[in-house]
Assembly symmetry: C2
Homo-oligomer: 242 residues x 2
Amino acid sequence: MTAAKAPLRIVADGAPKGDAGGRGAAVHEAVYERLRRAIMSGQLEPGRALSVRSLAAEFGVSAMPAREAIRQLAALGALEFTPTRRVAVAHMTPRKLSELCDARLALEPALAARALTALGDDEGAREKLAAKLLSIDETLDRAIEQGDSAAYARLNSEFHFALYEAARAPVYLGLVESLWLQTGPFMRVVIGRLGTAALEDDQHKEVVEALRAGDRAKLETAIRDDIKQGMTNIARGYSSNE
Amino acid sequence: MTAAKAPLRIVADGAPKGDAGGRGAAVHEAVYERLRRAIMSGQLEPGRALSVRSLAAEFGVSAMPAREAIRQLAALGALEFTPTRRVAVAHMTPRKLSELCDARLALEPALAARALTALGDDEGAREKLAAKLLSIDETLDRAIEQGDSAAYARLNSEFHFALYEAARAPVYLGLVESLWLQTGPFMRVVIGRLGTAALEDDQHKEVVEALRAGDRAKLETAIRDDIKQGMTNIARGYSSNE
DNA sequence: GCGGTCAAAACGTGATCACAAAATACGGCC
DNA sequence: GGCCGTATTTTGTGATCACGTTTTGACCGC
């Protein structure tokens, strides 16, 4: 497995989640959240070698919380182990990419539809969420124009999960998050190859329109088309190098 | 959260997986596998309180491997944490059950279809797998007749995963396994309420027939009907007590 | 420049200890 | 029997150390 030799440098891009109780977040929860964001946003490319000790040093903690965070992310498919149990960001293959695409198509339109159901007949709630998504999408468009692939990755997941979280469906959300964790690192590599200009044709405005209209079929189609568009880009990025 | 006070007693029902390298399986891997099986087969009911120390004592290991196994199973949704970070088997609600059912319907027919594709035109391979499934199903039928709910739970998952593993689709397999881990504990409770006789109408023979014939549409339908049947039973089991 | 050898460094893992917080048990009181 | 206060037990977590294995780098010979 290719082991990147550049020193580990993970840039914070958001506050860790709050705590589960009065204690404040456990250190391992904070490490998990920061590492999760780094992976999902593609700061770490597929195959990138990591270790308990290097992550502990990077986050300024001892080995224990780093180990717990690694185990958790590995269970979600974001990290994987070599034959000798070294840790690395999960690698990508064409076959795995196809699986991820199919699984996303199987789950995300349904999750979006659940979000619509959860919002119910409350047009105000739909409008509020639509406004939020539009705001994120506008910032996203600026990131594309500026060629800022890091911001693009972060905002794209922020857009989708703002919608998906509205579904109040933790089982589905957990599955979808696992898929995004496995896709994120490679997505970033692809964006680096193709440039952000290749990302302009998303279906985000269609998503927002369908949400506003309360049109379930159109929302599912928009999500499905957005996934296909994104995966088409990824496939092009794949063949452009290997 | 209801904390069961009965001492923890987890019965082994299969050998832990082999190792990833020359070292043999790590202790935490063995603990994970045993705990995973206990959860999936319903030896531990939803809401059952666990702890790092009690699991460590039960498995005769130190706290570290128990913690790693817990973290991994929690990431898969099989275990959950209380507000003060105590550990318990994930509880069930009608809403969560509905989600699990929908997610299974979204993923498992497609995974079965992938298994068929992976076997290809090799009629011999299909026949071999079909024979294996039939053998498992026959043992399953005997467990039903004998009212052995523990054996039923184990054999039912063995049947399904023998088929799903043939798909060579680790992304899908991981997602489906997570769903089964979340369903297993409650399934067992329900079987205890309704009795194994309620389980006779599965679609396993239809699955085997469709597999033999290489009939993708029928295989998907059989898996879908089997899931619906199982979930109908679960819903009945739900309303029979709460 | 390449291959082999060896020593050092790095690694994952398990064990243990300590600490603070939470849960439980117990006794007294009403 | 329930409530309250207190003491005890249990808990999760983080730190550290040790061990065995793997990896890496330096060195030497060709």
